[in-house]
């Protein structure tokens, strides 16, 4: 499921030009993070990928089809989208009904719908909350309901808008494990995040945006080591990379284990 964005621009009715001349190709199975300051155009770009928005200029292709030639309903079977604010997404009276809505619209059998709902709720840790009203849950849990609803659609591409906001330490670890598993299964994953420690640990490629344009695009640890470039996008390197830089290292460790390996090698050499 390749996504190709060619010279895309988007202007809101208010006149705000949120995207300007963005070109990007995302190959099937990639895990890509979009980072940058508030208002950089990250969410607008993501909404172009599943047809919630159509480019004012340029084009967006999903699996060879221009998004303008597809309905949002058709695109939603290819590209799942989990909103930053779950209240933009949830509408059903129970968690179960919310997660079942998408698969049921795919005209799956009730048995298949039930199986998908059970698996999706279990993956996000909400198996015991199936009968509750989504709005009786706290916001972080509502975000997980929205995620489960997208997971149950089994879309080849999944867009996660700020998935770690409001999640506690355990919640972030659970999300990280889920991202790793979906990535290993070959799902294309795109996230928008300010959580650069999460981005470094779980996404192989990062796209840095500022002012509606792409400033940098490349392997996560490389790009997130470029302090001056990141400053243009109001972004600071992840904590592990800041630590490596403070110690005068040229290496950019992606995990605590890698950090300790580099430390051990340097210690052995000195």
């Amino acid at each position: 499921m390749t996504i190709i964005v060619r010279d895309a621009a988007y202007e809101y009715i208010s006149g705000v030009r949120a995207l300007d001349g963005v070109s990007l190709t995302i190959a099937s199975g990639e895990a890509v993070a979009l980072v940058g300051e508030n208002g950089a155009g990250k969410t607008t770009l993501a909404k172009l990928l599943n047809g919630l928005l159509r480019p004012s200029q340029g084009s967006v292709e999903v699996e060879g089809y221009d998004t303008r030639s597809r309905t949002t309903a058709q695109l939603s079977r290819q590209v799942g989208f989990v909103f930053q604010n779950p209240d933009d997404q949830l509408f059903a009276r129970t968690v179960q009904a919310e997660v079942a809505f998408g698969p049921r619209n795919q005209r799956l059998t009730e048995a298949e719908v039930e199986a998908r709902v059970a698996i999706a709720l279990s993956e996000v840790g909400l198996a015991d909350e199936a009968e509750r009203h989504p709005y009786d849950l706290a916001v972080p849990e509502r975000k997980l309901v929205a995620l489960a609803a997208a997971l149950a659609m089994h879309t080849p591409v999944l867009v996660l808008d700020e998935p770690t906001i409001g999640q506690d330490g355990r919640g972030v670890e659970r999300l990280g494990a889920l991202v790793d598993r979906l990535h290993a299964e070959g799902r294309t994953l795109i996230t928008i995040t300010h959580d650069l420690d999460f981005c470094l640990a779980h996404f192989e490629r990062v796209v840095v945006m500022a002012g509606g344009k792409i400033l940098a695009d490349g392997p996560t640890a490389d790009v997130l080591s470029k302090t001056e470039l990141l400053a243009q996008a109001q972004v600071e390197p992840p904590q592990l990379i800041q630590l490596a830089q403070a110690l005068g290292w040229s290496e950019a460790p992606r995990s605590v284990a890698e950090f300790a390996d580099v430390y051990a090698e340097r210690k052995a050499r000195s």
Partner: protein, 278 residues
């Protein structure tokens, strides 16, 4: 400035205490962070301090809640509002919907306080400048991004100059530069303005670097209270669901591999871990 004695709160229709037997004293000008797993009671503590619990959410409060000289459980929210400000977790819940521009939204609370027009202007513009929103002053609040709305929520409460400021994850939607700026503004309000600030957060790195004191809530109880480094080190040894900074995790890994000597206190900030490796 804040004195909670034996405070237990239960939401209506529930069987469990959302907060249980909390004793807490916070002095004038202190900047206090609150951490804990989701559901630990962080937002509820914010609601109790600002009077939303029980006045808005109903439910039952036991014990004594004294904030800025008010007996909170007996004082209407309207009366508390000029002394105790609450920045909501979701800024969308805070925007009044009654004003057309960002500037008017910030001035809305001041209008309700009956301030003179010049003072309203002065305070609103100062709050917008502090939160980096001056360029968006004439924009509709609903045309802002999530991060910008969050800065607006902070600005609107700041402008009211409350003696006690309670913030429920005030930087959750902000980019790193915005987060740093928000923490600097809050620290300035506490240090120079003498504002007492209680804020909940999941961003442990920022808390470790900025707050004077850190509290941990676990299943409604206050289980730790002290300097951030001490409290975060304790949290790594308990199943409170607080997590740890990557700095602390890196130090812990080096400790486990025998590269640094056993320490009673794990570092929590960049400066602390660099120091411990020297």
């Amino acid at each position: 400035m804040i004195a909670l004695k034996g405070v237990t709160y239960r939401y209506p229709g529930t069987q469990r205490d959302a907060l249980h037997a909390i004793d807490l004293t916070v002095g004038e000008g202190e900047l206090v962070g609150v951490v804990g797993a989701n559901g630990a009671g962080k937002s509820t503590l914010c609601y109790v301090l600002s009077g939303y619990a029980p006045h808005f959410f109903n439910g039952t409060v036991e014990g004594s809640v004294q904030v800025a000289g008010h007996d909170v459980t007996r004082t209407p929210i309207g009366e508390l509002a000029s002394d105790v400000g609450l920045v909501f977790h979701n800024p969308f819940n805070q925007i009044s919907g009654a004003r057309y521009t960002v500037l008017e939204e910030v001035a809305f609370g001041l209008e309700n306080m009956g301030l003179p027009r010049d003072e309203m202007h002065e305070r609103s513009e100062a709050a917008l400048a502090a939160t980096g929103l001056m360029d968006l002053a004439q924009r509709s609040p609903f045309a802002l991004s999530g991060g910008e709305q969050q800065r607006l929520a902070i600005a609107a409460i700041m402008a009211m100059q409350p003696r006690v400021l309670v913030c429920d994850e005030p930087t959750s939607q902000l980019d790193p530069a915005g987060t740093r700026a928000a923490f600097e503004v809050l620290r300035g309000l506490a240090r120079q303005g003498g504002t007492t600030i209680v804020l909940t957060e999941h961003k442990l790195g920022w808390l470790a670097a900025f707050v004077d004191r850190l509290l941990v809530l676990h299943e409604g109880a206050l289980v730790a209270d002290g300097p951030p480094r001490q409290v975060l080190a304790m949290a790594m040894d308990h199943a409170w669901g607080v997590g740890a900074t990557m700095y602390a995790r890196a130090a812990q890994e080096l400790l486990a591999r025998g590269f640094i000597p056993p320490q009673s206190l794990l570092p929590a900030t960049l400066e602390q871990v660099v120091e411990s490796l020297r």
